[in-house]
Amino acid sequence: MGAQAGLFTSGWRLRNTMDLSKKDMLGIIDLPKDEIDLILDTAESFKEISTRTIKKVPTLRGKTVITLFFEASTRTRTSFEIAAKRLSADTINISASTSSVVKGETLIDTARNLESMNPDIIIIRHSAAGAAHILAGLLKQSIINAGDGAHEHPTQALLDMLTIREKKGTIEGLRIAIVGDIAHSRVARSNIYGLTKMGADVAVCGPAMMMPRDIDQMGVSVYYKMEDAIKDADVVMMLRIQLERQGKNLFPSLREYANLFSLNRDNIRLAKDDVIVMHPGPINRGVEITPEIADGPHSVILEQVTNGVAVRMALLYLLSGGRK
């Protein structure tokens, strides 16, 4: 293991000429382009670790990482935990159902209690926008936002950007369509910030009542017809539709939604021949994406998941290293 760890000894650190400017990763909105590059470059170099027989380096040995999830998640929490473990950090997972939250403790009290146990990084997911900001303002630890309401999900956007960059060589100049419930999507927001910063031409598309007001001011073009949005696209990013939103004035039925906004064998032909299809998961097969597309040759959905581990390793590493 000693030899494998060589990549992450001080020699590697010397080549890393910059650190992240903030102690926390709350969102992509205020993440400079060069720091996005830094994270993606670092993630790329970390990817190899996950392919080894012994998938572990001692980089974060002695560091404690807490995942604090107030919202159900399998993929993201597991991805963070695996990322931390592959860097030899100690991980503790707290989910709302097992924590004292059910007993009525406030988020701030929970955070202060965790702080008292001296962790190094706290990863939080919460249904309320801004929850990670509360922790970041209160605690000296690094806070990673693993999704706050409909606000931001920065690691998802970073893993998406890593995937696009791998597949396309660059993000700049690509035509990227994001389709679905934009209004309620933190994935959409973080990706819009990231992709526009990296120079992509971003289109958003969805039913009118799922299009948030003034979104064009975020530098995207807005479409209400799927065909227009994905025409000549290099990347189509489908969003998960929250099934429980139907019947709440947001859309009439799943049938209508699938008719108008699912990616299928017919409409994908409008995109470029080498289009890649992305989805943050979990997918609703037959609703926003048909099974043959989800499992088809254009799909990079599972590679996104693989890259998720690498991006989160990079972030844990950079946030720890930058604060020595």
């Binding site: 926008a129 309401g149 409909a150 309620h184």
Partner: protein
């Protein structure tokens, strides 16, 4: 006991007075306004306090016609005593308090309780606004006659918009028959429910559900229509949108009897302040966009908006130190309202005389209370303002129990330095 206020610039819009003059207060009443009141004339008995108010502004006591004092029921947030202490510290001699207490002020006993607590506190005059409907649930009107007799000055379900237009119609008609105003919190809940901040680019960026301005405008327009139809009058609470200002302006020019108030935060802050998710910027109606702020200022300037009221809404950390979405609406206002309003004078939007009208004369007229004037014989409610005092807002020093103030740490110019209620100095600083 006599007070002689010497050498201040007395501004009393109710009498068109704006001049350096002296005021003599005797037995709780204004007994004389005259230049250079000489001591023997003023003080045959020797029981006299003299205040040199050179370079200060002396006005009829300020009136905040929209506050929440939380008592009975939420004494941990505010009491009538702490709220009225905050009032006089902010320069207000009279305040009107909304009915959303527990129990709701929807009957004589609660109104009388509020008045009793106010008497015991002996700080500001407190005017209870009674609920428009029993339990503020928008179904059955309260006993307007009995509530008026008990001392209520207006009716409002503030916080709970009256969605039933038929009930609103009857409230307007019935209140008018008692010469009492109905104060309307204008909100179409079909458009606003679930919303956490102004709907627009910022809410889109923050991923917070929006409350569109139209949710307010529609109800303002409805209430104006009802006031016209019933030939009564309506007062619009806390106007926050350009659309509302325009609706009130057009109604006024059409001769409809509508008055309106706004709050300092609606001309001081925009929804940009929500970045960072601080719950001290969360209130209803929400902070709006810069075009709305400009329209509010124009409405103040051209007289469309009659009054400025703080919508003082103290909360404890229990309601505010939580996730934005779970936080209660409302901010404190009594101790920052006047200095924020004085910015309007600094910016040339209002003259100091116009500001005093909106903070004293007009609220008195809307509520039909015998205040807002320094006429000889009237209650000696007087506010003394130092226009040049520079001070920094520090919520730790608030008299209010509420610390939910978005202006903490702000450096402000101008302050009430003396507040006299009924001839009694209730607040004074050097």
């Amino acid at each position: 006991m006599k007070l002689l206020l010497k050498g201040g610039r007395v501004i009393d819009p109710s009498q068109n007075i704006d001049t350096v003059t002296d005021i003599l207060i005797e037995d709780g009443k204004i007994s004389m306004i005259q230049k250079n009141i000489s001591l023997p004339e003023a003080d045959p008995g020797g029981d006299l306090k003299i205040f040199d108010l050179k370079d200060k502004i002396v006005t009829p006591g300020l009136i905040d016609m929209h506050t929440h004092l939380r008592e009975p029921g939420f004494e941990y947030k505010e009491t009538i005593r702490t709220g009225s202490e905050a009032a006089v510290a902010g320069g207000f001699t009279s305040i009107a308090c909304m009915a959303n207490t527990d129990p709701v002020n929807d009957n004589r006993s609660v109104t009388e309780f509020i008045l009793k607590q106010a008497r015991l506190a002996a700080m500001a005059n407190v005017y209870p606004i009674a609920a428009l409907s029993k339990g503020q649930d928008g179904k059955v009107l309260t006993e307007f006659g009995d509530l008026k007799d008990a001392g209520a000055v207006a009716f409002s379900d503030d916080g709970n918009p009256v969605t039933d237009s038929g009930l609103m119609r009857h409230a307007l008609e019935y209140a008018y028959s008692f010469d009492m105003p109905v104060i309307s919190h204008c909100e179409d809940t079909g458009l606003s429910s679930g919303g956490l901040m102004n709907e627009g680019f910022i809410s889109t960026q923050l991923g917070l559900p929006g409350i569109p301005g139209i949710a307010e405008d529609i109800m303002v327009i409805r209430d104006i229509g009802l006031a016209e139809f019933t030939k009564t009058r309506v007062h619009i609470a806390h106007v926050s949108t350009a659309g509302s200002v325009q609706a009130v302006r057009e109604a006024r020019s059409a001769g409809i009897n509508v008055t309106a108030e706004t709050a300092p935060h609606y001309f001081t802050l925009t929804d940009e302040a929500l970045r960072g998710f601080s719950t001290n910027f969360k209130m209803y109606p929400p902070l709006r966009g810069s075009n709305d702020v400009e329209a509010i200022k124009e409405g103040l300037r051209d007289g469309t908006i009659d009054a400025i009221a703080s919508d003082h809404a103290p909360h404890s950390s229990i309601e505010k130190d939580v996730e934005f979405e779970y936080a209660a609406n409302g901010i404190t206002g009594l101790e920052t309202s006047l200095p924020l309003c004085l910015k309007l004078v600094d910016e040339g939007i209002l003259t100091i005389n116009q500001l005093i009208e909106k903070m004293s004369v007009n609220p008195a007229n809307i509520l039909k209370i015998p205040k807002g004037s320094l006429k000889t014989g009237s209650d000696a409610d007087v506010t003394v303002i130092d226009m040049n005092k520079i001070w920094t807002v520090n919520t730790d020093k608030f008299r209010s129990k509420g610390r939910n103030c978005p202006f903490n740490g702000w450096e402000l110019k101008g302050k009430a330095v003396m507040t006299i209620v009924g001839g009694d100095v209730r607040y004074a600083e050097s």
